[in-house]
Each structure stands twice: as structure tokens, then as C-alpha cells.
């Protein structure tokens, strides 16, 4: 019988493996749930996973691979870089792609096949700038990113948002992801006497940066972007985690919606743990939205599905109401700032 | 000659991969003798010596020393049994000093016997002069002396010498041969491989002539020196 082929492109191994596995797991879980109810318009869902290892090249290869397998939509990837590397291939093949990648550039190319299921960097940047300048009134801000599209996008957007808000960015530095040793650059930063450090990269580096910042005696507040919202951040930073700030949309456990509670429960029963982060859930929402559109259209046509999504009223999602703008961006945003406590738990420090 | 040989080889065969280098040789050496093995290039002399030291493993046959079987033992056990080997091409430890080389020669003994060291220095006064010099910077002849001296450090009962005159100036060849005699007079049995047949036969009591892995002739030095065959092939009328 004919099936509805859905691809997963995610970093199933590599540095972001637990995020990637989260995405893969939730797609499989959704597929199972839908198949149990008789599938999508009578078609069973068949899932094809491709591991992009968080690298752009592998992502490009995955894209070709998945297209060759004849999928009609792809969920993922986790990083903007990987999502971007695969975009054009999906676009050429008319395959829908929904990713939590937050780099603004993802929606700037005019590929109708791309649907962002998270909120773009620029939204986060505005929030961060407002929080740092408006609320905290920092005078000497350092911004650090790595080389990924996501991090550079977020960092650049933040720098310009801070400047627009009248703040003073004394340094904007880039670090190499996974390089572990950040002391040389932190030592240089120390000599500039900052009062806040904003880090736009991923948690694997963020935790170590924070630990080394404290070890070097740099007494600045550490504010980390959304990709640091992972339990490993605090574990990596060790006792230095306390007092670090993380900016993100609400954590899975905080989600007030019924859909969310149901989904989290089945996820936990099936996999014995909670999803690693909200990004997993955003991707699940992306998949739910596309299938919803197909069902409403009574057609598997991808183009029609997108047209429907861009026009539809917000539908209830795991991560809140879902709706899409004409450029494929998800509408809305709900950022907040968490402060890490001594026991590694979060305290909400500021809400939008 | 006593009836029980100190050292005995029986039907030894050795090969490199599929190439047979030694094709069944037997020989014996009695205590106190100097025995020489002669032969053209590639006859298998070095192969034979290396097999005695177990650096190479025999395909078949037996090698017995003081009634103990050597084949199958690991190479580093041989010197402990009383057989010392001064290899072809000297093989001194170039970045170690002369004295360090000599001390390593006594590695198999629990402790270094100062008397042996003095004896070696007596045999080769040049080595004493150069004690602290890196052995790699010695001239070829000095290195050869060092190699022999190093082999003596383990107080061997039998000494294997592989071409001690190779590439050595005539004057040093004479000096070295003289010391080999002195070593033998000290009660050490010597098995000597030489290219320089005339000199070797003058020194040795008996000899074996090896030809492509087989023993062609053997006998006392006098017999060999006067043998037609040996004359022709090795001592030969030149030109």
C-alpha cells in the first residue's frame, strides 16, 4: 500500500546527539500515534531517518538521500546550519522542510518549502537587548558566538539590537565550537573589564565558557542564548553554573497546554525520559501542522499544504499556538530569562 | 679432540619465506677451538650465525650447546646460556657511549663484573681511551673492536664473530685477528665467519666451507689451505 513518507534529518550522533535523538524519537512517536488511528487519509506513515551529525556537508548529503527516497516532508534539522545546507535540495524537489533552526537567513531565501517551527533569532535578539539594556542596564557588554549560522546570526542580531537600544558592546568575539579551551580569549576579555557576557552558541561550549569565566575570576553576568537551555549546561559548568542566565521560550515542563501534557506523557512512557528540550517539541509541532494542513486540504500536495498553513488561523500546538507568516516564519514569540539556582534548577528571572 | 662437542648443529634448514638459505648443514665445535666458516657471498654464513642466536628461526634441524637444545628459545635467552654474538656490520648502539655499550653487553648478568671490563679494555686499549665517546662516531675498526668487546662482556663460553674484518683497513684486521687469538687463549671457544679465507684459516683450527646453503668441504685448516677446491674458489689465483 502507498505510504506517506516522512524524513527526519537530525544530528542523531555527534555533539548534539541528544537533541537529534529527541527529534527522531518524537517524529517516530507521532507517526506511531497517527498510524494507530489509521494513518493520514488512509496512508500509513513511514519514517526515514538520516543522521546529519550536525555538520553541513552531511546535511547536504542527507537531503539528497531523503529526496531520493521520495519523502514528502522532512522534519529537522536541529541546527540552522544543517537546515540551511539542505534547504535548496528540498526546495528543488518540492519537499517540505520544517526546522527549529532560528537563523534569520533560513527564511530569507524565498524557498516556499521551508517552514520554521521556532521563532527567529531576531525576535530573541530584540528580547535580549531589551533585557540587558532596559532591565539590567549593563554598561560594558561582550558578545561571543561560534561560527554556526545560528550563533553568528543571533550574535549579530543581538549586537545591532543592543546598539539600537543605546548599549555599549565592547567586544564581539568568535570561538571555535568544541575547542574546550576558551581561557585565552576569556583572558583577553577579562582585561576589558566587562559587566556582562552574552553567549550566542550552543550549550556544549556555553557550560565550559561559564566554568572558565568563573575560574578566571571574571565577575561579569553570563547570559546565554536559547541553545544553552539544556541540563548539560549546568553539569558542565559545575558549581559555576549558579547565577548564570539563560534566555529561551518556556521549558517543556512549563508548557501549560493540554496537547503538551499528553505528548510529554506518551514520550516519557515510550522512551523512559523527557524530551531533551523544547526544540524537540517545536519540531513535533511542525510535523503536526503539516499533516493537519494535508488533512484539511484532503490532498498530499505539498504546495497546497504550505498555502493552507500560511493562511490558517493559529492551531493549538505542544509549544503554544501555531501559525505561519508568508515567508515561512512562525508567528509570535514568548521569551523569558531563567537564572540557574544552586541545585541547577531554573528560576524565572524575567518574562517578556 | 674430546669426544663430546661443546656445540653441535644437526641437519639445520633455514629459509626466508619460500627461499631456502640453509639447506641442511651439520657441524660441531669443541671446547677451546677456533672454527671458521668460509663461503661466498650469500652462501648462508650470516644466516647460520643468526639462527644460532635465534634471531632467525630454523625450519628444521637442531642446534645444541652443552647438550641443551637452542632452537625454539627466544633470542634474548641465548646470551645467558653462554653464547655471545658479534653481528655482521658491528651494530653498535650509536647514540650510547662506548662504556654504555659495554655495560649493555653484560645486561644478561645480574651485575657487571669489573674484571671482565678491565680485561676487555686490556684487549682493546683504544676502547678505554674512548670510553666516553658516542660509539656512532668511532671509526669502523674501533666499532668492530667495540662489538667484539661488547660480546665478551657477558663472559661467554662461545663467541660468534661475523666478518670482523669487513671493511676494515689491513692494519686493523691484523690487530683484531691477534686479539681473537688472545681471546681463544683465554678459554673462549670461537666460531668465526670470514670472507678473508686466508687470514681466517691461518687463525683457525678447523674450518667449514659453505656453498649455497650446504657444506661443501670441511677439515682442519691445513687440509683446507691445501685443498684444490678451496684454493680455486676462495684463495684463487687472481687475475
Amino acid at each position: 500500500a502507498e505510504t506517506l513518507k516522512i524524513g527526519v534529518q537530525a544530528p542523531i550522533t555527534g555533539s548534539y546527539a541528544n537533541e537529534g535523538q529527541g527529534i527522531d524519537n518524537s517524529v517516530k512517536l507521532l507517526a506511531e500515534q497517527i498510524n494507530a488511528k489509521g494513518g493520514v487519509m488512509g496512508r500509513q506513515i513511514e519514517v526515514f531517518s538520516c543522521d546529519d551529525e550536525g555538520t553541513a556537508m552531511k546535511a547536504a548529503i542527507c537531503a539528497k538521500d531523503l529526496v531520493n527516497k521520495g519523502v514528502s516532508m522532512v522534519i529537522g534539522s536541529y541546527t540552522s546550519t544543517c537546515a540551511e545546507a539542505a534547504q535548496k535540495t528540498y526546495f528543488k524537489a518540492g519537499v517540505l522542510q520544517t526546522s527549529d533552526g532560528t537563523a534569520d537567513s533560513l527564511t530569507e531565501k524565498g524557498y516556499w518549502t521551508f517552514l520554521r517551527n521556532s521563532f527567529p533569532n531576531s525576535a530573541e535578539a530584540d528580547y535580549v537587548a531589551d533585557y540587558m539594556i532596559g532591565t539590567k542596564k549593563y554598561q560594558r557588554i561582550v558578545v561571543i558566538s561560534d561560527f554556526s549560522s545560528y550563533a553568528t546570526g543571533l550574535a549579530e542580531a543581538t549586537v545591532s539590537a543592543i546598539k539600537k537600544a543605546g548599549g555599549n558592546v565592547i567586544a564581539y568575539e568568535k570561538v571555535k565550537a568544541d575547542s574546550q579551551n576558551f581561557t585565552p580569549i576569556l583572558t583577553q576579555i577579562k582585561s576589558k573589564k566587562p559587566d556582562a557576557i552574552f553567549f550566542a552558541g550552543y550549550y556544549t561550549d556555553g557550560g565550559q565558557l561559564r566554568a572558565q569565566q568563573v575560574a578566571l575570576g571574571i565577575k561579569a553576568d553570563f547570559i546565554a542564548g536559547d541553545a544553552n537551555d539544556n541540563p548539560d549546561f549546568a553539569k558542565l559548568a559545575g558549581s559555576a553554573a549558579q547565577g548564570a542566565y539563560i534566555v529561551n521560550v518556556p521549558t517543556p515542563g512549563m508548557l501549560p497546554y493540554d496537547v503538551a501534557k499528553d505528548f510529554l506523557k506518551s514520550y516519557e512512557t515510550k522512551f523512559g525520559m523527557l524530551p531533551p528540550s523544547i526544540w524537540t517539541l517545536m519540531n513535533a509541532d511542525g510535523m503536526r501542522a503539516i499533516i493537519h494542513a494535508m488533512e484539511q486540504n484532503k490532498s498530499f500536495d505539498t504546495k497546497k499544504a504550505v498555502e493552507y498553513l500560511q493562511a490558517m488561523e493559529p492551531m493549538p500546538g505542544i509549544t503554544g499556538p501555531i501559525a505561519f507568516a508568508k515567508d515561512g516564519n512562525r508567528i509570535g514569540s514568548s521569551y523569558m530569562t531563567f537564572e540557574i539556582q544552586a541545585d541547577d534548577s531554573y528560576r524565572v528571572a524575567h518574562k517578556q | 679432540m674430546s669426544n663430546q662437542p661443546l656445540f653441535e648443529i644437526k641437519d639445520l634448514e633455514v629459509s626466508y619465506g619460500s627461499i631456502a638459505a640453509i639447506k641442511g648443514i651439520s657441524m660441531e665445535v669443541h671446547k677451546g677451538e677456533i672454527v671458521t666458516i668460509l663461503g661466498a657471498n650469500g652462501a648462508g654464513k650470516t644466516t647460520c650465525m643468526r639462527t644460532i642466536s635465534q634471531l632467525l628461526k630454523a625450519k628444521s634441524g637442531s642446534i645444541r650447546f652443552k647438550n641443551a637444545e637452542l632452537t625454539g628459545l627466544p633470542a634474548h635467552k641465548i646470551v645467558g646460556l653462554g653464547i655471545s654474538h658479534s653481528p655482521e656490520g658491528r651494530r653498535v648502539f650509536g647514540i650510547l657511549t662506548v662504556e654504555e655499550n659495554l655495560l649493555l653487553g653484560a645486561y644478561s648478568c645480574k651485575s657487571v663484573d669489573r674484571k671482565v671490563l678491565e680485561w676487555v679494555y686490556d684487549l682493546f686499549p683504544r676502547l678505554k681511551e674512548r670510553r666516553k665517546q658516542l660509539s656512532g662516531t668511532l671509526s669502523g675498526g674501533e666499532q668492530q673492536m667495540l662489538a667484539i668487546g661488547r660480546a665478551l662482556m657477558s663472559k661467554p663460553e662461545m663467541l660468534l664473530l661475523d666478518e670482523p674484518s669487513l671493511g676494515i683497513a689491513p692494519i686493523l684486521v691484523k690487530a683484531i685477528f691477534k686479539q681473537i687469538r688472545a681471546i681463544a687463549d683465554n678459554g673462549v671457544t670461537v666460531l668465526l665467519v670470514e670472507q678473508n679465507a686466508k687470514a681466517a684459516l691461518k687463525l683457525a683450527d678447523r674450518g667449514y666451507v659453505l656453498e649455497v646453503g650446504k657444506i661443501a668441504t670441511s677439515g682442519t685448516s691445513e687440509e683446507l689451505l691445501s685443498s684444490e677446491k678451496v684454493q680455486e674458489a676462495y684463495l684463487g689465483k687472481k687475475h
Partner: protein
């Protein structure tokens, strides 16, 4: 040896020429990868296998070729095929320039310098050198293969492009074996001092090998771009170089050995892709086992490449 020339190669070529007809899209893609990586491995063989230069940075030239093509296409709109001369010349030139000052280094020291070059290259590309390399993400969404304005969307076209490049490489390898230059490489690998002492300018020929290897790898880079219409730094990292290095040694630095090596290293993993996580683990064992069982490689290169009239009936060995 004779059988290989009379039957082996023609059969292989005919088989490869007909191959895409029997494959679905996914396996066609694997087949293209096989060809591209074979060409790079052959280019590595010129440097490592023939000339004996311990080069662990061949991916650099592969990448440089790919980037030349990608940048010219992306920034200046050149068609992929028209970038070929640049994609050969720039890596070859770099190969020559880089080789110059380091060719006097011995084995392992050369190994690190070539690794170093590779790392410098990857970092330069990641840092978006000159603003054209696309940084760590690379360059995506390049044009497909086109000829005289006609665009080939089918990847079978890419396959035949790769196939042609492989044939060209094989032809050059063959010419090399039957020339003074090719022999010189063997001589200087086996004993540089002896080679120098019979009149071989070892430096010149080492640089020649390096440049030639770099040029061919660069050409393979163009094919790579045609296949993926994308480039990114990690495709040309040090790990890739290690793979090419291993292929040449595991293969035994002979042409059939290298094809086998590429097949084992790049195609088999696709066959066993369900075992993905176990793949490299098993692979490592396979590499060790291959070397232990066949220390000179699976299919060791043979010498004795001499004209018939020299071969006498009573010849020994050979």
C-alpha cells in the same frame, strides 16, 4: 598482470560504463561517490604510493578544487564545467608552492606539515577567507551540471562526468608508468640518495608528483561539486585525508587495490548502513586485519614493467 591489462581493465571499464542503467537514484549517487573518491585516492597514490611522500593532507587539494568551482559558480556564475581549468591549476599551483619548502623533510615530519596545511586550509575556509567561502557552512545551492547552455538535472549526467574524469586519471597513471618521470618517482621513493646519485633531481620530481596529485584531486573536487551542488569545510578535513591515506596503503598502491580500497571504505558502509553506529568500529578492525593479513596491501603494486624484448626465456623470478 597481463590478464589484468587484457581483460581486467576493459571489463571493469565496460561494467562501469553500463552501471548507472542498473541502479536506482540512491545507488547511482553511491556510484558517483565511488568514482570521485577513487580519483582522489589515485591522486594520493601518485604522491604517497609512487613517490613515497608521506602526505596526509590530500583532502586539502580536493577541497581547493571543489571550492574553486563553487566560488566561481556562486560568485561569478561560471558554469561548473568551465571552472575545470581553474580547479586543476589552482590546487596544482598551491601543491607546488607548498611542496617547495618542505620537500627536504623526512617521513613523519612531512606527515605533520601536510596535516598542518590541511588544517590551515579548513580553518581559512571556515573563517570565510576573502568573504567568498561561506564560512563554516560552506556554499550551497550551486548550479547543476550544464553543457552549451543545456542543464542536466539527471544525475546520470554527473555519473558520466565522473566516469570521464576517472578514465582520464587512469590514462594519466598509465602514461606515468611508461615514462621517465613516472619511473623517477619510484626510484626516489625506494632510495632518494641513490636516485640523486644517478642524476635524478629528486626535489623537482617530488614537487612534480605533489603538483600532479594536487591537480587531479582538484579536478575531483569539481566532480564533487557537480554531485552535491554544495561544498563545506568538513568534507575536506584531516579525517578525509586520513581515509585517502589509508586507502592507498590498504589497497597496496596499485590501481586495482585502490579501487578495492575505495569500494571497501565508501561503498560497503552504504550497504551496511543499518549498522551505522557499528560501522567505523568494524571498519577499524577491518583495517587492522587487512594490514596483518596482507602487510603490503590487499593488492600490492608489482614492478617489472619492462618491454618484452628484454625478457629472455630463461628468466629467473619475475
Amino acid at each position: 598482470m597481463k590478464n589484468l591489462n587484457v581483460f581486467g581493465y576493459p571489463l571493469f571499464i565496460v561494467f562501469m560504463a553500463a552501471l548507472p542503467l542498473g541502479l536506482d537514484a540512491r545507488w547511482q549517487e553511491v556510484a558517483i561517490s565511488f568514482l570521485v573518491f577513487s580519483v582522489v585516492a589515485l591522486s594520493q597514490d601518485i604522491v604517497l604510493g609512487k613517490c613515497g611522500i608521506f602526505n596526509m593532507g590530500q583532502a586539502l587539494f580536493f577541497g581547493m578544487g571543489a571550492y574553486c568551482t563553487a566560488i566561481l559558480n556562486n560568485e561569478y556564475g561560471w558554469s561548473l564545467l568551465s571552472t575545470i581549468p581553474v580547479a586543476i591549476l589552482i590546487p596544482a599551483l598551491f601543491g607546488i608552492l607548498l611542496a617547495g619548502p618542505i620537500m627536504h623533510l623526512r617521513g613523519d615530519y612531512l606527515l605533520v606539515t601536510t596535516i598542518g596545511f590541511n588544517i590551515v586550509f579548513v580553518q581559512a575556509v571556515q573563517n570565510n577567507l576573502g568573504g567568498v567561502t561561506g564560512g563554516p557552512n560552506g556554499i550551497f545551492g550551486l548550479d547543476s551540471l550544464s553543457l552549451f547552455g543545456h542543464e542536466f538535472t539527471d544525475q546520470v549526467a554527473v555519473y558520466y562526468f565522473a566516469f570521464a574524469v576517472m578514465l582520464l586519471t587512469l590514462w594519466i597513471m598509465r602514461n606515468l608508468e611508461h615514462s621517465k618521470a613516472g619511473r623517477a618517482l619510484h626510484y626516489l621513493r625506494l632510495d632518494p640518495l641513490a636516485a640523486e646519485s644517478i642524476g635524478i633531481n629528486t626535489r623537482l620530481y617530488k614537487i612534480f608528483a605533489f603538483g600532479l596529485g594536487a591537480g587531479i584531486a582538484g579536478l575531483a573536487g569539481t566532480v564533487f561539486v557537480a554531485q552535491f551542488t554544495a561544498v563545506s569545510p568538513e568534507g575536506f578535513g584531516f579525517m578525509q585525508s586520513v581515509l585517502f591515506f589509508s586507502i592507498v596503503i590498504v589497497g597496496g598502491s596499485s590501481v586495482p587495490g585502490i579501487f578495492l580500497g575505495v569500494f571497501v571504505m565508501f561503498v560497503l558502509p552504504e550497504v551496511f548502513s543499518p549498522l551505522a553506529t557499528w560501522r567505523y568500529f568494524i571498519f577499524g578492525f577491518a583495517m587492522i586485519a587487512a594490514m596483518i593479513l596482507r602487510p603490503r596491501g590487499i593488492w600490492p603494486a608489482k614492478f617489472g614493467n619492462i618491454p618484452k624484448f628484454l625478457i629472455k626465456e630463461s628468466n629467473h623470478g619475475g
